[in-house]
Amino acid sequence: MPLVRGTTTADRRVPASNTYTLSHNHNVGADGYLFVVITCPFTDVSSVTYAGVAMTLVQRKTRANTGSYNTDWTVWRLAAPATGANNLVVRMVTSQFNGVSTFITSYTGCAGSGNIASNLTISSPVTTSVAIEQNSMIIGSAIGGNSLNLSMQIPTGTSLTLLYSHNANNWAFGSVSPSLGAGTISCRADSNGSTIMMLTEVREAPDAPVVNNTSGWWMILN
């Protein structure tokens, strides 16, 4: 079954609380998966649920990792999420009075997350690469110093339409590649400010095994 990206929700808000809730409509399809990228300055995300089910952390770049951006940067996943409009609830360690970016994508035909990569050495452009399997997609996320001339190239040389671009104290932006061939994929993010980058492979579910009905008892008729 082919990997297909479904509904996308991009949210940027000042929670003024230690929790916030938003709705996302997960579309119907076999092998459904939900991925969430959260860019949270100055405090840490402690949990994420969708339709009341806890999501699993795929990767985290801590506030120490992100250096001067002082941002907790996380990717979460959930297999077989409830379909339809459901609440995503994000909890943080302390109340958040800055902008937080939340980027949600639904998939069908998905086997979950694969390899991850990042480049946290602040530069512009920033590049990194990730090894992926056949037909995987790549979620590319970046934090830049400002909102000017943002771009995400996956693979390098192929500019993608940004699917989110948010003021989260610094500037959070990103996109998702189409399905790509297997191999090591070089990726690039740009902004007019210094930038860091994080990649997450989204894998295609294997085809269902073909039932080969050649075993068992056979009767030959003449």
């Binding site: 479904g6 509904t7 996308t8 929700t9 991009a10 949210d11 940027r12 808000r13 000042v14 929670p15 003024a16 609380s17 916030y20 809730t21 938003l22 709705s23 996302h24 409509n25 579309n27 339809g84 409009a85 109340s95 009075f97 800055n98 902008g99």
Partner: protein, 91 residues
């Protein structure tokens, strides 16, 4: 197609609550609606230090200004909501 979700922002029993009331279909429509504001966010930005130190709470905002309407979310599926054809109903 992208849907710009409009939330009513209010304080209920001391909890900040976003309630989605419908959608618009462009950022231009959002910007053109005077009922949809960034007043709450602007107030938080101005008073961030006092909020972090507990000198102020978000209740102080709602006691002064009351509920407001905001647009935080853009999605590709808003089938659970309806198009807002007249933003003047957002009062």
């Amino acid at each position: 197609m992208e849907y710009y979700i409009i939330d009513k922002l209010e304080l209920i029993d001391g909890v900040l609550v976003h309630t989605s009331v419908g959608y618009l279909t462009s950022q231009e429509d959002v910007d053109a609606a005077p009922e949809i504001t960034t007043q709450f966010e602007d107030w938080v930005g101005t008073n961030k230090g006092d909020l972090e130190n507990g000198v102020l709470t978000v209740a102080d905002y709602f006691n002064t200004y009351g509920p407001s309407y905001v647009c935080n979310t853009v999605t590709t599926d808003a089938s659970n909501l309806t198009l807002i054809t007249d933003t003047s109903i957002l009062i």
